[in-house]
Symmetry: C2
Subunit: 279 residues, 2 copies
């Protein structure tokens, strides 16, 4: 237990979602759909006398990460290197929680199973209020459909069997905790309609159409994101707003074709994983 | 639907397993544990007037592949390119069935979900008698633990959160259908003991130890495989026989250290996936 260990967690852009509360945080969460991205977060954990958490070299407070380490009964230095900005709809907080669980399990030889680690990270993220479904989606990878909420012991997952190039532009942050603390009834109803549409026809084009409709019906579409989504549509492409960030995601070359200068990545086919043994 | 599409399916070496029958082939299967491998099978499907199946350029009869195409209601040319030999315990037949399902869904725009395609391939493989658990393990990737049998609508999966280099040597074929058609009571009892041990401590070393014990208790360890496993142990490494092939798999550099000239691959962290859109 003097070794360090690393894990990679794909980013995750949510297209649509519900908010499903439950007394047990490992059973609470959300249903919905999203894209796991090859841009993600690499988390390194090494034992230390006091826990300290860094993101891209800067000390940060991340309640979900602290909760994961507490649940595993360990203290360590956690360093995340992110391809993606925090607070903009890419699941960076979920990635930090899940990456910490996977890397700490390896570094401290905790001997937990994958499902147990995902459950710990999911529960920590829900309790921290920073996300409802990113962790389980990031554990699966691909294009996850979350049919039932919660951690792996209770949830039901499926997926859209496709891959694609993804482009995105980030215009600003949104506070997930703030939005989830409000009345989520209308949001959940819109999320259920979107999920039904995609379950009936699990294709990328239906996913994007359902996501766009959700962002409008849930009242979450920002004016800046709406303008960009319309620009992409005008250029013949398909785009939607990332839930929850002032961020627009397009398939293929949608944003480039509309004259934007996007970041480019791909759907990441696999889920979060520890990296090669370094011990 | 004039496009071709491709899918990659990781190889899968089973360490231990049970045989769990059920009237519905999508609910039958096995519990057990194994390693998904970066060496696998790439399957290309294109529409054709008559179905034809090729493996590494040679026309083959593969009942599971025919059943998958029938279930999807399509006819096509299926071409598999395998990094691995067939009949030697790497799940090549399961990979052909699952790769055909994923690629045919894309080529023919069938609009099925990932779980639906895995269910079709798993049921086809069980009905063909060529495997019980490879397809669902190959759909998951990593180091899958199959806690409950069957397709994704009924099974329960977990995993060992680790990665490692894998070495293997192939000494000959075993007939899976032949063994599964016999009395599997003792085999299943041994498989249950192995699974219990690994669930209690989901680590690579426990997995290898449980697999070795299973191969002896189930009466499946061939003399040639036993000799090689003992050679690896004598050189300080850890190895086990692949279920079901006359094949030995070692972690790290176990076979090299014992003087063998093995093939080398890695645990494949992700599951089977369609490859980038070619349409």
């Amino acid at each position: 237990m003097t070794d360090q260990a690393r894990a990679f967690v794909p980013g995750h852009v949510t297209g649509f979602f519900t908010s499903d509360d439950a007394p047990d945080p490992t059973e609470a969460g959300s249903r919905g759909g999203g894209l796991a991205l090859s841009d993600g977060v690499t988390v390194t954990v090494r034992p230390a006398a006091e826990t300290a958490v860094f993101l891209d070299g800067t000390a940060v407070g991340m309640s979900a990460v602290d909760r994961v380490l507490d649940a595993l009964g360990v203290r360590g230095e956690v360093r995340g290197e992110a391809d993606l900005p925090v607070g903009t709809g890419f699941g960076v907080s979920g990635a930090m929680a899940l990456g910490t669980a996977l890397a700490a399990n390896a570094a401290f030889d905790c001997r937990l199973s994958t499902n147990e680690l995902v459950t710990v990270a999911h529960g920590a993220e829900v309790q921290a209020g920073t996300g409802l479904g990113d962790v389980v989606a990031q554990a699966r990878g691909g294009i996850p459909l979350r049919l039932e909420p919660g951690g792996p012991q209770v949830n039901v997952l499926d997926g859209i069997p496709a891959r694609t190039r993804v482009e995105y532009v980030v215009r600003g942050e949104l506070d997930t905790a703030d939005i989830l603390a409000g009345d989520t009834g209308a949001l959940t109803a819109a999320g259920e309609r979107a999920l039904s549409a995609v379950v009936a026809e699990p294709t990328l084009s239906t996913f994007m159409e359902a996501s766009r409709r959700f962002s409008r019906e849930a009242g979450l579409l920002t004016p800046r994101a709406r303008d960009i989504v319309e620009d992409v549509a005008g250029a013949g492409g398909t785009a939607t707003m990332a839930m929850l960030g002032d961020t627009v995601v397009a398939l293929g070359t949608g944003l480039s074709d509309a004259g934007y200068d996007p970041a480019v990545c791909r759907v990441h086919p696999g889920g979060a994983t520890v990296l090669a043994d370094e011990g």
